[in-house]
């Protein structure tokens, strides 16, 4: 089986499982809608203009909501030693990791679209007039987040602390995603030209590349028995 087919098999399996159970999408989707409701009461719209802080709220909601789903990346396989089966199959370790990253990325993309929709509806936001650049910023940002989160999810699910450990491992490394993601999103929301966020997109791309690459190399040491 070719490398891409192996990877594709993992992606397909995870997406189909998610599509059938809707476990993680439901948890993350419910979380994001509820956070939107809570933000409405936590922030006094007569004092703070929602449009001005929307980018930060959206990104924090994606990160927090994403942690819920990422923490459960390997929870299904932990039951009845299913992960041993995957490890025993003739699939390269890095293909397993990359497959998991792609599946998580697809799931988180759906959740992110939901976050944008819900926040636009609740707070009457305007997303500026550069949808392609905005999508580029958001997708590169969550790719970096997912790459780190998937690797550390494999670690945290192997510890006795489980999911509670995940934010402590992931959040310190999310600084570049938050800084470049939020500033670029704010800039685009304000309708400023795309050239303003060129540097941000490059940095988000660099972070995603480093994260995916280091995860692919290091994953085999995490799952080694």
């Amino acid at each position: 089986m070719g490398y891409l087919r192996q990877m594709g098999a993992i992606v397909w399996k995870d997406v189909v499982v998610e599509f059938r159970t809707r476990e993680r999408i439901a948890a993350m989707g419910g979380f994001t809608v509820l956070v939107g409701i809570l933000f409405n009461y936590a922030i006094d719209p007569t004092v703070v203009e929602p449009q001005g802080i929307a980018a930060g709220l959206i990104w924090m909601t994606i990160i927090f909501g994403g942690m819920l789903g990422l923490g459960r990346t390997f929870s299904l396989e932990e039951e009845e030693g299913a992960f041993q089966g995957i490890l025993l199959s003739p699939i390269a370790r890095d293909a397993i990791y990359l497959g998991k990253v792609v599946a998580n990325f697809l799931i988180l993309t759906v959740v992110t679209a939901l976050v944008f929709g819900v926040f636009a509806l609740f707070f009457g936001l305007s997303f500026g007039n550069h949808p392609v650049a905005l999508a580029g910023v958001v997708l590169l940002g969550i790719l970096g987040f997912v790459a780190i989160g998937t690797l550390f999810s494999a670690i945290s699910s192997g510890t006795s602390m489980g999911d509670t450990l995940l934010p402590i491992l992931v959040f310190p490394l999310m600084i570049p995603v938050i800084i470049y993601g939020v500033t670029a999103t704010t800039t685009l929301f304000a309708g400023l030209p795309v050239t303003e966020v060129d540097g941000n997109i490059r940095m988000l791309g660099a972070f995603a590349t480093v994260s995916v690459f280091s995860g692919a190399v290091l994953f085999r040491y995490v799952v080694e028995e």
Partner: protein, 238 residues
């Protein structure tokens, strides 16, 4: 072997303590007072060397971790863990002395100064390193997990550094004092170098003691295992 490690640790420790005493004499009695910041600037000679050691230690953690994953030599993991412990200590010193100085120099306990922020994040990466290490039932697994955390942290530190630097240039803080320019008074520079020497010596002394302790623990565990496996002599019950 382990006695040689302990002896080296002791020698470095004595040198480190001696240099630290000299440093304190220089800081309190010898070095001229900085003109704009006054006496509080003298924290600089503790703070900067501690930061240097904290980041150097993290470099050692990353290199030893990567080599551990590659060569599977237990000694490399012990070295990484020992460096991480020393590094966390010095990171804590940086985080305690920074705000003390900042309160006077910047007029606030905490500011999102890039290097201070980076050090705080480094502290949390060290915390993750130890939590991962201590929360696995299988110690071998914990060592590999910790090594991965150490390597990913070290790869991300430059990106975090660039981003907090960039964010700062975007949002200048209200009360900012220029970091000391290159034109440092020669006496101040000398004191700083003594400080760097002192903290480096103290760090490597800690490191060697900690490493020697790990080696002794391992040897003890090994001896216990052998004793259990060996058949007991006739008539001896325990």
């Amino acid at each position: 072997m382990s006695s040689r490690i302990r002896w080296s640790g002791a020698v470095l420790g004595v040198l480190g303590i001696a240099t630290t005493l000299v440093l304190h004499w220089m800081v309190f009695f010898w070095v001229p007072t900085e003109r704009t910041m006054g006496v509080v600037q003298r924290i600089f000679y503790i703070h900067v060397p501690a930061a240097w050691v904290a980041f150097m230690a993290f470099g050692i953690v990353a290199i030893c971790s990567a080599m551990y994953l590659w060569l599977k030599d237990e000694r490399l993991d012990m070295a990484a863990a020992s460096a991480a412990e020393g590094g966390m200590l010095f990171t804590t010193i940086v985080l305690l002395t920074g705000p003390l100085w900042g309160r006077v120099a910047w007029g606030t306990w905490w500011t999102w100064e890039p290097r201070l922020t980076l050090t705080l994040l480094l502290w949390f990466i060290y915390l993750g390193y130890f939590l991962v290490r201590s929360s696995t039932e299988n110690p071998q697994r914990g060592k590999r997990f910790a090594a991965v955390v150490g390597i990913v942290g070290a790869l991300d530190i430059p990106l975090i550094h660039i981003s907090v630097q960039w964010f700062r240039s975007l949002h200048p803080a209200p009360v900012v004092m220029r970091p000391d320019g290159p034109s440092l008074h020669p006496d101040m520079l000398a004191t700083l170098f003594v400080g760097l020497g002192a903290s480096t010596l103290v760090f490597f002394s800690f490191f060697l003691f900690r490493y020697g302790l790990e080696r002794m623990e391992q040897a003890l565990a090994h001896r216990e295992m052998v004793a259990e496996a060996a058949p007991r002599p006739e008539g001896v019950t325990s």
